[in-house]
Symmetry: none
Subunit: 212 residues, 4 copies
DNA sequence: GATGAATGAGGATTCATTCAT
DNA sequence: AATGAATGAATCCTCATTCAT
């Protein structure tokens, strides 16, 4: 399990385990856990089905390894940068780092969205661990700013969910954007547009709107 | 297929087919297509597995019937109400109707989100049929208002996706809200909070923000 | 069960039971017992699956009714005409009647061939009942004629099987004749050709050949 | 697919695939495709049902492999020996080789007969490929001999079908011979009797009979 | 006599996993 | 580390049959 943050994923040697993780990440993101067979994964890696078990003890473990590898950097960013949200400039820097990270592993936000929909017990612990603190920081952030956000206490959870979707939802909706609206969501210029949009939208959501 | 708009879903006779649709809707939304077995559905309806095939020709057809039944009312609302977006009051009325509808069938937004993630060919036609027109209306709406929205042309698709997630994402994140933040997302008072939030957030997203 | 020999099959009222028998006869002949479903039969008759059980107690019983109806006339002919084989002219008359009968129900020879291949216990009694006597008559016929047939005792069974195939095999090979050789085996003129061929070939088989 | 002609089937290593083919050949011949379940085959081989799919991609593919293995030698004989039919001695040699081959795989003629009855599309290509040329050779053979056969042009197809049944029909009728007439069709002496009969009968059919 | 609905048994096939090589 | 082969459990679906209406 790669936990060394100094080694970027691209620089990792393309070990068999890594190649398995890459393929599994993509397939799990595209189709969901149940719709991906071990045969599919092994086949795409160019491996026999049985060989996969030399690297991971099973399908479930492989899935968790994928999730762990993908979520670790995000957790890192949030753990160290949560306090930045208190100022607009800090918020922007945080968003920049997050958007950067998500764009470097675009399957991960889809996986997270699926986890959320599946309401897996695995997700529960995950969420408790790093979403609750974030939520608290965000809550305090909005309460502490001189300009009030204009949201009531009971609306705050929805604001958090909304912010999450502004960030992650872009990747979930990649197919929609491509097919219906004709945008190419993988184009690198989209990265900048996405970042600008997220920054702007978050300001609109977090500061009082003109129309309230 | 219920097309009579005067008959609400709850008032429908609980025919076997309807009960199958209800159970299937819930399971497909909770676990996704591949993770739901025909046995599961039949079992929950209290039916032999084979009996299900007296009502639907197969799993795929059942899934599509679920989607069709769930999406028809939404399509209806959008088809007749798209033009309302041009004024703030009309937009509010549209949102009211949409939130109402989504709350009456809360599994459906999860199904839509899953469809989007799965990038199914079925979704493609669906999206083309009623998402493209909506997008066009929305685009024109934002261009036509006297106060400009403050978004660039290339950001508009992201605004649409954002709006979608503000509306639908609440249901996808129901588990997160319940488990992490402690909110009960099925409580009826949440319906009002959700509506207020969506109205407010949409104004913030669609009108120029102070911070741009 | 139609046992009245004065009523030809065509003249029978197209009762539901008769229509079922007709469809079943065709399908069983074309595909074999196991490959035909009760649904198939009922469907082609324009009947609900369950309705079929108002006319026949089950699939097996229906099959036996088909066989019985189809074989009764043949059995009749053989029972009354076996002795005719003793003279060439009598043999011809017997063949005429047999070919006539087979052409009036061309699915039946295919059914018989399938029965033979399946080696069904049903076939056993059937064969014992009317094939053994025929065989004995044929044996005596060949032994009694002034001109010896030229066959040894041990070859006689093969001669019988050969005669059977000259008569019945035409219908089994209908597809082959149509597709490979380009003959239309349902054309009525084929009936005469078939009869001539059978008569001629039987003479060749039953009388001493020049080359022995 | 065994293509090495020097290795006889019996000498092949009894690999799992070969054992599956053997069992499948027998069951398909005895009962027909639809009446044989994959479980039956696997069970007789002493294999789990799923293991069979490690050797053949499916039931249909297994069936075709059986047919291919069984028909290849026959095709070979006909392809190389068709011209021999032009002389009586050559014809005898051809028949000897064919009878030899059929007796070495006695299930195959039953399979061919079933294919013919089923009128399968698979059979069509098969027939076109090697039955049409044979038919043409046979036609020319009978037209070329100094002594005319005594058949009319339109009867020729029936002669071909008749010859086919004289050869193959013995195996289809094995049950009939055993049960009704009391002959043991698997006894090796029957092989010689069958060959003699086929040779003699073919002369009778191909040369002018006294009674025409 | 006809039918919609129900069902237990069985159909072919795929699943994740194990193990000897 | 890789693989061919094996397997029990599960997959979706079809089967012949029954029964209340």
């Amino acid at each position: 399990m790669p936990t060394d943050p100094t080694r970027t994923r691209a620089a990792e040697a393309a070990t068999t385990a890594t190649r398995i993780l890459d393929v599994a990440e993509q397939l799990f993101a595209e189709r969901g856990y149940a719709a991906v067979s071990v045969r599919d994964i092994a086949g795409r890696v160019g491996l026999n089905q049985a060989s996969l078990y030399n690297h991971f003890p099973g399908k479930q473990a492989l899935y968790e390894a994928v999730l762990e590898r993908g979520l670790a950097p995000i957790r890192e960013i949030l753990a160290h940068g949560g306090a930045q949200m208190l100022t607009p400039e800090g918020g922007d820097r945080l968003l920049e780092r997050l958007v950067d990270q998500l764009w470097s592993t675009p399957h991960i936000p889809k996986l997270v969205e699926r986890e959320m929909l599946d309401d897996g017990t695995w997700f529960e612990s995950l969420a408790r661990e790093w979403l609750t603190p974030i939520y608290e920081v965000g809550r305090r952030a909005m309460a502490a700013t001189s300009e009030p956000s204009g949201w009531t206490e009971e609306e705050l959870p929805l604001v958090v969910v909304g912010m999450y979707h502004l960030l992650f939802g872009f990747f979930s909706a990649a197919a929609l954007l491509r097919r219906v609206i004709g945008v190419d969501p993988q184009a690198q210029e989209m990265r900048r547009i996405h970042l600008d949009f997220v920054k702007d939208a978050s300001r609109r959501l977090m500061r009082p709107g003109a129309a309230t």
